[in-house]
């Protein structure tokens, strides 16, 4: 588990505009700069590797209309 990262993902999933603010400022959070970069890049696989909760990744994917299976590395038929 990565409690701090999860809290940030949850906040973004509920208020997507926060993501734009994060792109400009990384201070004030307890997550690492690399994790912030993954969030801004909407890098589901990267966030997963940092211990993000899978259900929060699904919420995040839903808000930003990301196909989670492909983003998490599964090979899908084209």
């Amino acid at each position: 588990m990565n409690l701090e990262l999860d809290q940030l993902i949850s906040s973004v999933a509920r208020e997507p505009a926060l993501l734009d603010e994060m792109a400009l400022a990384t201070f004030g959070t307890r997550v690492s700069e690399s994790e912030i970069r993954m969030l801004v890049a909407k890098d589901l696989a990267g966030l997963r590797s940092k211990g993000a909760h899978p259900l929060l990744l699904m919420q995040f994917a839903g808000v930003f209309e990301i196909e989670p299976m492909r983003a998490l590395g599964r090979q899908l038929p084209s």
Partner: protein, 272 residues
Amino acid sequence: MAEVVAGYGVSHTAMTIRKYELGADAAQDRVHAAFARVRGEITALDPDLIVMVSSDHLKSFFYESFPQICVGLGSQSTGWGDAGVASRDVPIAGDFAAHLLSFGIAAGFDLSWSVEPKLDHGFMSPLTLLRPEMDIPLVPIFQNASTEPLPPFRRCAEFGRLLRTAINARPTHERVLLLAGGGLSHWVGTPEMGDINVEFDRWFLGRVEAGDIDSLTELEVDTVGVEAGNGGQEIRNWITVMAAGSGPGLTLSYEPVPQWATGMAIARLFER
């Protein structure tokens, strides 16, 4: 005393609603036909209320307060409208819910409670398919199936037995339908998402049909995570309802549906 009239277990993926088109896939049609069958059975049973054991997906509860088992109180809840399942108002059987809570606490079961918690697709997807009128009062019971540490299956069965005792101890006569939501095997938000372990699912349903709860309570939480996925942990809701009844269950439908990334099952969980 109140009376348990039936107990069912149903998968609760929102994709059953969000990604369904009649006639596009025979397996999906069979799943919907099974839901329609149970919908008819529920109408015929004419229950006064539904006690539903399902799981939240970090919508109503988060890290500031995270219950293992939580009873919803009050008079009305509302759906989150998440994952493509429409938000609806759902009446809460508040007096009955308060009875279950008080009985459980007095019996030494440290239940949490929440007044009019919102309901995500874990509740709303089955309810939409089984009782779209939303006119049967509900006791929503949230059981943690998503976030470690997870309760052992033995404890989930103990909770089911407590439910039965509490219902029998109710002085008024209500007809109570028990409903479990979730499972069977599926992986959510992980690289394995899309896998379905048909062998595990069929083994699990075999235990349901044998009324063999002992084999299920012997399962290790970590083993289920490996064999049935993080979503497969929702079988604990079935185990709870199974333990509230007795006798063999009956599988009404099982379909591994790759498009919904879930082993979809619908079953009666006990005779009486």
